[in-house]
């Protein structure tokens, strides 16, 4: 499909620049950095991570998040956070980070027998 796109002074320079500096690379697809999107489904609930997207700035990220993640009435509030601001746990350390808890059933209230006299807690 060809569009009637006017050629402007600077187009050639942009092409070279594009090939040079805007080569596709993870985290920068040419339309800005990555943003993480958090959507609140209903009042009273927490914002939950919904996904991520690319945007050149926060305002665009917010509008994009609205359009991509709430267009089927999924939300009443949206947060966007630069992905670079997220510090994540290392999957290689998952065993030491999380598995000990699986061995500690006494951390769950259901582990304990509640005397009948206590009734509902």
């Amino acid at each position: 499909m060809s569009y009637d796109v006017p050629r402007m002074a600077g187009d050639a320079a942009w092409t070279e620049h594009d090939a040079d500096d805007h080569a596709r690379r993870p985290g920068d697809e040419g339309s800005g950095p990555m943003w993480e999107v958090f959507v609140r489904q209903r009042r009273g609930m927490s914002h939950v991570h919904a996904g991520s997207l690319h945007a050149p700035d926060a305002e665009t990220a917010l509008l994009n998040a609205r359009d991509v993640y709430t267009r089927r009435s999924e939300g009443v509030s949206v947060w966007v956070v630069p992905s670079s601001a997220v510090t994540a746990s290392d999957p290689d350390n998952a065993a030491s980070m999380f598995e000990p808890f699986a061995e500690q059933p006494y951390r769950h209230a259901t582990y304990y027998d509640i005397p009948d006299e206590v009734g509902h807690m």
């Binding site: 509008l63 994009n64 991509v68």
Partner: protein, 273 residues
């Protein structure tokens, strides 16, 4: 541009009963049709971007706006058909009318061009529709008022989206600035028509159904000036203006839009799926 001579009712004339008629239809019907057609054609144009957006997120954003306009078109055309009382449905009106009987603004039928042209066209329309729907929310036609109140929320988002892009491109790189300015200059000649009242508008305004579009001009100017200033763009000074879409005299582009829009129904009339 006018094609073969046809014998038809003069577009705007006084009927024997003194009611303003346009193309054989009462002013009230034509007034609603015009607003419906703006949205029908804008939806079709924005739909052309699907799968061709500058990035995935914007592709979806443009499709969302297109669907808002399509929803408004459906409501308005269905209402126009009901007002006309001849049994024409929204589909009949969208798929069965030829160019001369379609009343959209010339602005909305202009090609998508580069992304800057799409942004400028949306900005000019959105700023107009925000004012239009705001006033029409109080229309004496309760159905039109209800449609306008719902459309106003959508139009406010459209304007936020198109304004943000105009500023980002205008106040962006030297190239994006040049392209955005070129788009504003190119489309400026279609920005008088939304505010040019004819007998249909005046009759609709006088009856409390519509608004004299002239009163929408000042708030539109203020909004556009604010966006252009923030975007470091020049307001064009070219006084040349095009009108005619409201009366069915279109640029060469609408025929192509309708050909694609109506092809299926004209090839297989009444087809459902």
């Amino acid at each position: 541009m006018t094609g073969p001579e046809q014998s038809r009712v003069p577009f705007v004339a006084a009927s024997p009963q003194g009611m303003v008629v346009a193309g054989g239809l009462p002013a009230h019907v034509v007034y609603v049709l015009r607003l419906g057609d703006d949205n029908l054609v804008m939806a079709q144009r924005l739909g052309e971007w699907i799968s061709r957006g500058p990035d995935l997120e914007e592709d979806i954003a443009l499709a969302n706006v297109a669907l808002d306009h399509l929803g408004q078109a459906r409501a308005l055309l269905a209402h126009a058909g009901a007002l006309e009382g001849m049994g024409r449905t929204e589909d009949d009106l969208a798929m069965g009318r030829a160019e001369r009987d379609v009343h959209n603004l010339l602005l909305v039928e202009q090609p998508n061009g580069d992304f800057a042209h799409t942004v400028a066209r949306a900005l000019f329309l959105d700023a107009y529709q925000v004012e239009l729907w705001r006033v029409l929310s109080g229309s004496g036609d309760a159905t039109l008022g209800g449609i306008a109140a719902k459309a106003l929320k959508e139009a406010r988002y459209h304007l936020r989206h198109s304004s943000a892009w105009a500023v980002r491109l205008g106040d962006g790189t030297a190239l994006s600035h040049a392209r955005m300015q070129a788009a504003v200059d190119d489309l400026w000649r279609f920005t008088f028509e939304p505010f040019a009242a004819d007998a249909v508008d005046l009759a609709a305004a006088a009856s409390g159904v519509g608004v004299d579009p002239e009163v929408l001009r000042a708030p539109w100017d203020a909004r556009i000036d604010a966006v252009l200033t923030e975007a470091t763009l020049e307001r064009p000074s070219d006084p040349y203006q095009r009108t005619g879409g409201r009366q069915g005299f279109h640029t060469e582009h609408l025929g192509h839009v309708l050909t694609e829009l109506q092809w299926m129904q004209r090839t297989f009339p009444g087809l459902h799926w």
